[in-house]
Subunit: 456 residues, 2 copies
């Protein structure tokens, strides 16, 4: 094998990309901790029954499945293998799959650890997920979700905390043109009630979900095709609006939804949220958006999606409330709400808009350059002392030509080179070369440590 | 589905386990950075050709393979499917697999990114790997490797750096009864030369690898069975010894290996290493071990394994030098050396020996307890101010009975509870309850921040 390549839709991350990714991950992790969320991790591999049936039919086809070990055809062979098709065979030969999101494994975790956790449970989880999707710009087969969920409390205070986490995170990352779109599945049900289309709720939400891409015309055409009447479409139109979240807009919608107790309940939840956001100075960058529907069927209350203006990019974070996700795993009656940051989209956005702070692109370090073989022991000893003072450094592995060593120092973005030859050893003094300015000076190791300690 | 369970050999990590794991990961990551290693990450999924043939026959059977999407039986059906067996079918329906270690993906990364990296390249990588092994105590199907490798330099200074990383890491983790066993594949070749068994080198190393478990008798029996003579076994016996690494023991071995130029070369490499370790105060906890062979066939120079006395556990870290791993991927001539910490074994060891510092087991936080509904807005505002001062906190989501709120505070190991009722709001003063001592006092929010800032 001579030309290795990456599996389609996956990526390597080199040192520079890692520094930038760590900036995103650590900024958001600090905020999760600041809101008293606790870390958990779940395995990449789950039994396939844990995953199937949770993400809709499309989700099931996008699961990566693990081939069973051993002679997996053994039992199958007795049936007529020649008549078999792949989708029939799959469940018999692949009993595990890769994690598709972090919410379903979290629900499984809660159901399995009910006696170990305290309700309401606030957890964060920052791990990759895998989907066998067609790779394209901004869409990968392995990508990272940074999730925070609160389970076991119905209070809208939880939604308010999550919105404030959005604010803190985007401020921390330097993303200022974000808009948090918010709606409520009960409000959508109320709209269906107004239209007299309760039975066609999922048809309605599927069409609304496309509003961004196909506009009102497109949504209307789809609904008419699926059996909605012109009159129903006329009734729907006033609900397809977006405006900054405020008590005023909610009052207006409450009037529009007065025939639907469920719709009113949805608006009241948003009023609660509005109150809590007002109390915590979080009522900004938030748009109440009647067109927001969210594909995942497990949502039952507030739903969110964060977009960045002029980014030409889909949502960079999303979430919502789900009332019965642990119920699937035998633990009913726990309402949860959560958000998920798409780390890879955030990375791509920050890269495109040049938002990464310049100081994070290279990790600081010092290169010791032995000018002759017998300087090496001295360099090793000096490097040891620097490291004891938490100053990252390395010794060039061999007394090769100084030009080559300095080229290497520049290539690895070392901040300083320390030249060590016979003179330096005899005088017990180092020659310190600043690789940015080119300036060189003599310095004792003690003074070097003093000078660098605040730098590193 | 009512009783969810984990895929065999995998684990969830709850908050307490995560805090302990983070202690291990961050301790070792800080040391990697201190030695000027740069982070990279590679994908969990690799094309199967990247993985197969690198880990021996047993390794190939332990690979987790991903079932292809779509109608994978389509082309296969035209052949006689009834005659097919699983191992024949597998390559046709599973073109990707899960990462088995971090070294092979790293070699692939280097070959694919040769123009972006500076040689010698020092990288660290901390990611999970997957093996379809039979799960047992201390052996998982998903486990974490924390690797540091230097590629593109033959100097034994690199080995010395890695041994010093071992020292720093085990000191940092509080593991003091560690022994670094060290040998050299060239020394083993030299031993084969002395025995006149050059052709049976791999038979010899496979037998030696079991010395720990089956002892001299067992090794001898295996060798006799495989065609070695009694005389050869007699010649072998003096080499099966272990002693603290020193110039003296190396001199002794040099004499014993004088018939083998390769063996002498191996000893000279160890002498170099000894010199560099001596210069950097790293010549301790290291045992030259003639029985150490290391299974992976890609090793060509020094090899290492770290054991902990009285732990009843296999090695917790290991590594070695490989001369042609990037050659497999079309980039010959690069020698590399690396080490790998087994994070899960280290965790199990530290747990068994009670080595985790007590302060890391719970993350610090404060719970605001609203005594009535109208206190909530005040709590949210106060929580916001604390978070702005990097003091992690949360507000109990609802003004339920104070007993219930305080029980929750204890359950989540909150350090303080802040009680907020009408009196507190009117006076603009908080009631702070220390949950360890039970002491309660009144305090202004400014004084609270001053008091807690050094605590968090």
């Amino acid at each position: 094998m001579n030309k290795p390549c990456l599996a389609k839709g996956t990526r390597d991350f080199g040192p520079e990309e890692m520094n930038k990714r760590k900036f995103i991950f650590s900024t958001i992790e600090k905020i999760f901790k600041n809101y008293a969320f606790e870390a958990i991790e779940t395995p990449a591999l789950e039994n396939i029954e844990t995953l199937t049936g949770k993400y809709g039919d499309e989700g099931d086809t996008l699961l990566f499945r693990i081939l069973d070990s051993g002679d997996y055809l053994k039992t199958w062979k007795e049936k007529n293998l020649l008549d078999a098709n792949s989708s029939e065979l799959t469940p018999h030969i692949a009993s595990r799959g890769l994690r598709y999101d972090l919410t379903v494994p979290f629900a499984r975790f809660v159901a399995m650890n009910r006696h170990r956790i305290s309700i309401p449970f606030r957890r964060y989880q920052m791990q990759p997920v895998w989907r066998a999707d067609r790779p394209q710009k901004g869409r990968y087969r392995e990508f990272w979700q940074l999730d925070a969920d609160i389970i076991g409390s119905e209070s809208l205070m939880n939604e308010a905390d999550l919105m404030n986490i959005f604010h803190n995170a985007f401020n921390g990352l330097g993303i200022d043109k974000y808009q948090i779109h918010i709606n409520n599945r009960k409000v959508l049900e109320g709209v269906a009630d107004v239209l007299g289309a309760k039975e066609s709720f999922s048809t309605l939400t599927v069409a609304l979900d496309k509003f961004d891409k196909i506009g009102w015309e497109g949504v209307q055409n789809e609904l008419l095709q699926k059996g909605f009447s012109n009159q129903q479409c006329d009734l729907l139109k006033p609900f397809l609006q977006s405006a900054p979240l405020s008590f005023e807009i909610l009052a207006k919608w409450k009037a529009m939804l007065q025939v639907s107790p469920t719709g009113i309940k949805g608006i009241e939840e948003l009023e609660d949220l509005c109150n809590y956001l007002f109390a915590s100075d979080g009522l900004h960058h938030i748009h109440f958006d009647g067109t927001l529907a969210r594909g995942l069927s497990y949502y039952t209350g507030c739903i969110f999606e964060v977009k960045v203006l002029d980014s030409g990019m889909g949502s960079i974070a999303a979430g919502g409330r789900y009332d019965n996700l642990t119920g699937i795993f035998g633990m009913p009656g726990l309402s949860g709400v959560g958000i998920s940051f798409g780390a890879d989209r955030i990375y791509d956005l920050m890269e495109a808009q040049n938002l990464f702070p310049s100081e994070i692109t290279a990790s600081k370090k010092i290169l010791f350059c032995p000018l002759e073989e017998k300087s090496i022991a001295f360099c090793l000893q000096a490097a040891k002392i620097l490291r004891e003072n938490a100053i990252p450094c390395l010794v060039y592995p061999g007394a090769v030509k100084i030009k080559k060593q300095l080229d290497f120092a520049n290539a690895i973005y070392a901040k300083y080179a320390v030249l060590v030859g016979e003179n330096e050893i005899n005088a017990g003094i180092l020659s310190l070369k600043n690789l940015e300015s080119g300036a060189q000076k003599s310095i004792s190791i003690d003074d070097l440590i003093k000078e660098l300690k605040h730098d590193f």
